[in-house]
């Protein structure tokens, strides 16, 4: 059963106020709390109990899958494997997300490994949100691993958001794209306190006309640390772009490592990285509109991470 704390976390990570429409699998404190399948989308527990397989039939259109995870018991540590098989010509939205509520002294950790097998011409929008809360001294740790295998002319848009409350995170994302496939990643991250967030991407463009656009916008506050390491590899005539745009505040530290590797004469690859503090004249401008300095800062950050 889902309690009040878990309900609130579900709202944070998956915008769920009630049971979602379509297929879903809600995991709470390492157990399945609710599941629904549809005629086109099947969710099956793996035999060894290590996770689930989500099978989306070819040609499935305008359906969604929600697979949120909630941890509200202190001291839980789990590794979960979720595999998505997206059939040819499907067009679906997948919403994942993990929220941890830790009031205890022990660390809580969820390591979700998501593998996507995207069929030819299929279109996927994937949204993943991370959220942590609770005033215990135990750490809230999330280490998501994502692997994406894209067949010809498929497309995938990934939105990765981690705005609050996660003490430590190492995100590893790998993608392999066949001819004509397109991958778009939009990562938004805010760290505060003494949080640590590392995000690594390796995108291999293996077929002619494959393209990738990996963009991160982040804000690092207090004494937190962020590392963004994004590598785009062009193995065919392809195009790739990666960008990191970060606001640094207080005593935070940020390392941006955009990398390009061209193994084909016709691979066109671009990287950009910028780190800077909030411009003084931005704050002054908003203060002349009647905001306090703190309100101005909040508006600037909210806009930047929107």
């Amino acid at each position: 059963m889902i309690d009040e704390i878990q309900k609130r976390i579900l709202e944070e990570v998956a915008d769920l106020h009630t049971v979602p429409e379509g297929a879903y699998n809600i995991r709470a404190n390492s157990k399945m709390a609710a599941r629904n399948t549809t005629a086109n989308i099947d969710i099956i527990s793996k035999d060894d109990g290590s996770g689930i397989d989500i099978k989306i039939k070819p040609g499935t259109k305008n359906e969604s899958v929600h697979i949120p995870v909630v941890l509200s018991q202190s001291g839980l540590k789990e590794v979960v494997y979720n595999d998505f098989y997206i059939g040819e010509d499907a067009d679906v939205v997948i919403v994942a997300g993990c929220g941890i509520h830790n009031c205890g002294v022990q660390d809580s950790e969820h390591d979700g490994i998501h593998r996507f097998y995207v069929g030819k011409n299929a279109k996927v929008k994937y949204v993943e949100k991370h959220y942590g809360e609770g005033d215990g001294t135990g750490k809230r740790i999330l280490n998501p691993g994502t692997e994406v295998y894209m067949e010809e002319n498929s497309s995938m848009e990934m939105e990765m958001v981690q705005i609050k409350g996660v003490d430590s995170t190492v995100r590893d994302t790998k993608a392999e794209l066949a001819a004509g496939a397109r991958l778009v990643v939009r990562e938004r991250l805010m760290t505060h306190g003494d949080q640590n967030a590392v995000s690594n991407y390796v995108v291999e463009l293996n077929g002619e006309g494959a393209s990738a656009d990996v963009v991160s916008r982040s804000v690092a506050r207090d004494t937190s640390y962020q590392k963004f390491d994004s590598r785009i590899v062009g193995n065919a005539p392809c195009s790739g772009h990666t960008e990191c745009d970060a606001i640094i505040m207080d005593k935070a530290r940020i390392l941006a490592v955009p990398q390009l590797e061209a193994n084909d004469l016709d691979s066109a690859l671009i990287h950009e990285a910028a780190i800077g503090k909030i411009a003084g004249d931005q704050i002054i401008k908003l203060m002349t509109l009647g905001l306090t300095e703190a309100e101005a800062e909040e508006q600037i950050i909210n806009g930047f991470l929107k």
Binding site: A279, Q282, I284, L286, T288, L289, G290, T292, N302, G303
Partner: protein, 247 residues
């Protein structure tokens, strides 16, 4: 009514202290349209920043409606009714024109209301209201949005720092109409720093600032003839003024 009393402003430079504003006193009466002009480097922009609270005077006092606001912050002054349009408008990644107008108005403006302000400054509202105030906007567009934020505040005193700076002549020609209209409809007082003859021409009062002090001050009819032909009252390109086409 805004009163500046014996304002001085010093900055430290290589040779020690440099006086930017020297013992300057000025009154902006209610419902007046005052244009400040004078040579570059004379202290005009500094004066505007002192009024908005972005800089603090070394000595002297600033009085708004009888209340001493010399030590008030930018935010407090904004709330008391002072608006300030920057010479170089600021860009914000992710903040939309609508968001900025809502912050300026201090309320959750409807899209229709926001569009009204954009139309006033000559922007097709539908195209702009959802756009981000970022580097994709041109200098002229940013200036118009900057002016729209001041309109949305509709405060007692609006200060504009060189609205003509950084935009092309063509864009400025249509911006002048915005000020002409503002002059007609506003309830508050307007202070514009400008060298443009057509802006000076709609002033109630002209103040010339040079070397940190007021060198001339008086009604438009009295001051403008003295300034014509000098750098303090530049005329726009005649051909453009007459709407002539390029040859």
């Amino acid at each position: 009514m805004l009163e500046l009393k014996n304002i001085s402003f010093d900055v430290a430079d290589d040779k020690g202290q440099k006086e930017i504003i020297k013992n300057l006193s000025l009154t902006i009466d209610d419902h007046k349209f005052v244009v400040i002009t004078g040579p570059n480097g004379g202290g005009k922009s500094t004066l505007a920043k002192l009024i908005a609270g972005i800089e603090k005077p070394t000595s002297g006092s600033i009085i708004l409606n009888g209340e001493d606001i010399t030590d008030k912050s930018i935010t407090e002054r904004a709330k008391m009714g002072i608006s300030f349009a920057f010479q170089q408008p600021v860009r914000f990644k992710g903040i939309r024109v609508l968001d900025l107008l809502r912050i300026a108005a201090g309320k959750n403006l409807s899209v229709a209301d926001a569009c009204q302000y954009l139309s006033e400054v000559g922007l097709c509202a539908r195209d702009y209201v959802k756009r981000e105030v970022n580097a994709s906007l041109s200098g002229g567009e940013l200036k118009r949005i900057e002016i729209a934020t001041v309109l949305a505040r509709s405060t007692q005193l609006s200060v504009f720092d060189e609205p003509e700076a950084g935009i092309d002549l063509w864009s400025f020609q249509s911006l002048i109409k915005v000020f002409e209209r503002m002059r007609k409809i506003t309830n508050g007082s307007i202070m514009i720093i400008s060298h443009q003859e057509r802006i000076l021409d709609i002033a109630d009062e002209i103040v010339v600032i040079a070397n940190g002090t007021i060198s001339k001050q008086g009604p438009k009819d009295e001051i403008l003839p003295e300034l014509l032909g000098t750098a303090s009252a530049v005329n726009s390109c005649d051909r453009l003024e007459k709407g002539g086409s390029q040859e």
